[in-house]
Symmetry: D2
């Protein structure tokens, strides 16, 4: 196989981190019971409970599409609706998965500030319609860190959860980059979730260094009723579950998950800093997690692409997204920054 | 972690085979494009096309529940029905997954001989009802090898596919143990599938030595239209796809898949042979693939379980299922056979 | 239009009864609010609460397929299962509607005696499987009167509901011919439903003399949460609702519903009596509601059909179903009985 | 029952027109076969084929929610999307029914001019995303007349259908007020549908003077495959179908449908004319069909409501919708206009 150069298109271009790999290797000894009734799965669940300092219920799914869609469908019925931001991954990049898993729940898009929902924007959508001709709002979903690289503080989450309780809404957190949010804020996982009123968290493993797999944590036990059946029916129960759970054991040990997230965030800060003085380059959003959103020129984007760089663009707008990963090398960041400088000068 | 002794409860108690592991290790170098647009995935698809000697369309899903349910839902609409055997995994062990993915298609159970559907049993079900108050039959699903360890010959499959064409039914093959069927019959994959009239095959990787992952092969291109969207929406598109596809590259190289299947089949034959002269022990089904179904006494089952053996039982019937895997050791088979002999003498 | 002769194929071959017609006519004066916020709908709901002597929640749907499927889907999730008899209409004649509305709940068929479920047959199915690979039983559905014309006594229902509570199952009653059951037993609607432990009843209007429309009565208020949204989303909220509710006002007034049911039952008894001494004719089930199931000869069935009679047959078995309706004329019953006598003699 | 005064809240506040009533009365003689195999249903279907001058396939559903959702779900799969206007009833007032019936198809909202989609607005949405992370556009749905009372000309429809063919999109028409569009344009039904490239039309009966019932006309026969099963499974097959079809026979005879629509349109024109010189009153949209959208003052709206008038308002905007029906009396229109004049002067 040929070109394996590091890219900034997505943090899922990276591979498996050493800690996850070592755990998989260890788990690959002999036989184990299937479908999660194995020692690794029990241990991973316990490790999550220790990390979150609470007796939450823990499930594992193959990817984020499924984890979030399953969680959302356990929080509402088909005739209910889910309030999300206009940039929410469930709205823009899941090909209708939440609607499919829930058999028709509608996503209602709310205004955001720097990619973040607010109590006011939630209230506005939740109270807009109250008749049976429109799906009844029942869930709010936050992405932490957001799709534009910003991060909700514990206070912001708490304010939102208070609004949710008041309006009868369950609160879900899409944590595809939850580790990056923790790393940025220096908060404990508990502070950012159940202590702030979150009912369910989907904790992303793939972008944190795993091959596949996300964890779904229910802090609200009632909402987890028969969730294991839901996972099974939806094709999300792994027979050789140990290969989804063991990597978590590896990641959670000695805070490897946090170390990787800090590194990715650091690379993003580095990139932002290196391009900060380039004329014509502007930050589109504050750099908090592991993504850098830059306003470049269209010509610069074309040239960067021609030079072999991979990143997401916002067509016709000159916007470019650069994601850093657990394995991103600083040298590669500097190489990218230098190229940006050149093409913008060009 | 403690007891990793080999068991015979299921062939998914085993781990990852060396060929799959090596390929994953090699794939875990540097960055790769996500969502299947990587070199490993392209190569695995090409390898399948070479193995099956035809330009089929190849997709990857996380597990068999999803692979089969997605394939079936692409072959019918919600108001159609799927004809299957009474022991079919989709009917007995998927928690309603086919009904969920298809939004309501009904499974119609047909009579079998040694776990195998026949043209007559299919015809009987397909023609039983022809009014709009009953879901219209549209698909037949075969399991190859079957859930009771028997195997369809190419002639049997061809006879069924002729009946399907006559009745307007699509033909799906659940190949969770397809490799074991190939190994038993000594047939080429092509002979057992598209050359015999199969429209879609779900080729099982997990039981063949992978961590996760099944391949879905459409020999009928029309039926594959937009199937990639279907996978994505249903939460079955892996972002780091290379870790689902690279193991296939490893397995398909030098016929490792076939070698492992032959070994598992051989162990099943060995077990059957070792217990063949034990008084009171009877084979429930012919041993063709990697499973041995024995009629034991209830007391023997209890004692075997007490001695630490894990296997599936058919409560109240004295039936016991023993599955062999790619890694099953002959010594362990002999140990089991000796214990069966002892407890039956009991 | 040509032949309007009374037939015995189904009790839905009849038209609209005078009481329902008169109420529709009265309702067709001037304007009324839409979607059930009209005086007729409020009045019909109150009339139901009076008839059932309890503060139940009342909804209206267009037909029985939808009423039963909506009710069942409010009692379980997609990964749950519904225990029903092998002759249950939801299993045999709804083209997968329960599976569609619930997004995949599986129907589990239990043994019956004279078409009726028993505590034992329910328990057997409910306890057969307790693993997540099989949909978890959550609902029992009874048909009252059954599809073979038999009727559950209050004691039988109570025994079943006790079993349900013990096993964590909700209890639904498909009352397409509920009025015929009431008429046969001489019981109050309350005795046959909530007093005996039924959670939800679908009360059939169509077969009782309406053009379209069934009522759904929730005795368990918790289960009715947001059921109005469910109806709306599933295309079962009539804009000119008064034309579904006013006929109920007509039917419930002065017990017209009961009078019609008694008449239909009486005609069934008459038919049964008139053919009781015909050699070769045998009753397949006790005649309790408005259906008569006769074992005839195949030749007799052919000749009856040739003479223009319409009725359901059980192919290859010589079985024939004759349904009486609210408008069935005794003379026509005698005509049928005479013809049966002739063709059986033939 | 009390207040039956004519209102302008919706054209579904009206009752059953004389022609529909007479046909129901005639249909209510004797017995008829159930489930659409009756003479009235065959005749209604033939009448539609005569009216539309083509051999279309005709189905009947209970209401518009279901008719449109069933039609849309026959035009796409769950992972496809439907392009509609931001005011489309399927988007704003069906409580997620299209998503439910299709098991998750996403509605994509396009820009409109006077409530009407254009080739450009369709193209913009259809081409915005072409990756598998977003549901693939497959259908365009037009509402004729639109929800804001405007009407597509045959030329406009043809231009849209050309764009659809080019982009691989099926074209659906929500014709809840199709008759009003025909009446305004003076075009034949054929000119406004299949001759202009429409694949499927849902022709509204309820707002045209029926109790319940919409007709679904497939001009593209391939798309109608097994649609009868779809209707049955979704709870939209009436057993006493004659009461859904006979009213259509009444309405289609002697162009009663057109007469009623013309009358409703005329009343709307009258209202618009009567208020045209009132200071502060402005038309929000051109009056083409049977709706009048007026910009009033908030105070005027409050006073009108206090005086007992019922109409839809757009909260905080001073907008008010007045719908005329087949039975609207000119005197009542003048009464309303006079009151508007008074309250605006107030």
């Amino acid at each position: 196989m040929t070109d394996k150069s590091q890219q900034f298109a997505s943090d899922n271009y990276s591979g498996i981190c050493p800690e996850a790999w070592a755990a998989m290797e260890e788990a690959n000894q002999g036989h184990q019971r299937a479908y999660g009734d194995d020692e690794w799965t029990h241990r991973a669940a316990d490790d999550f409970r220790a990390l979150f300092e609470t007796d939450c219920e823990v499930f594992f799914a193959f990817n984020g599409t499924a984890a979030n869609s399953l969680a959302l469908s356990s929080l509402c019925q088909s005739y209910h609706s889910v309030i999300c931001s206009e940039t929410a991954h469930v709205e823009t990049d899941e090909c209708g998965a939440p609607e499919f898993f829930s058999n028709g729940s509608k996503l209602l898009v709310a205004r955001t500030e720097n990619g973040k929902l607010t109590p006011d924007s939630i209230r506005e959508i939740a109270l807009k319609r109250q008749d049976i001709h429109y799906p009844k709002p029942r869930v709010v979903t936050l992405t932490q860190a957001t799709e534009v690289g910003s991060v909700y503080t514990p206070e912001e989450i708490r304010a939102i959860s208070i609004t949710c309780k008041e309006l009868g809404l369950n609160l879900h957190m899409d944590g595809a980059r939850f580790s990056n949010a923790c790393a940025f804020l220096g908060c404990s996982p508990a502070d950012l979730t159940w202590k702030a009123g979150v009912d369910v968290l989907c904790f992303g493993g793939t972008k944190n260094g795993m091959a596949v797999g996300e964890a779904i944590l229910f802090f609200n036990h009632d909402l987890a009723e028969d969730f294991d059946y839901r996972c099974k029916q939806a094709g999300q129960l792994a027979s050789k579950m140990r290969f989804l759970s063991a990597p978590w054991v590896g990641l959670l040990q000695d805070d490897a998950w946090l170390k990787h997230a800090r590194h990715a965030n650091h690379c993003a800060q580095l990139l932002a800093q290196l391009v900060s003085d380039i004329p014509g380059v502007e930050l589109m959003f504050p750099v908090q997690a592991n993504g850098v959103f830059l306003q470049l020129s269209e010509a610069a984007i074309t040239t960067l692409t021609a030079r072999g760089w991979r990143f997401y663009t916002f067509i016709g707008k000159g916007g470019a997204r650069f994601m850093c990963s657990w394995d991103t090398e600083e040298a590669r960041v500097r190489e990218l920054a230098a190229d940006i400088r050149e093409v913008m000068a060009g």
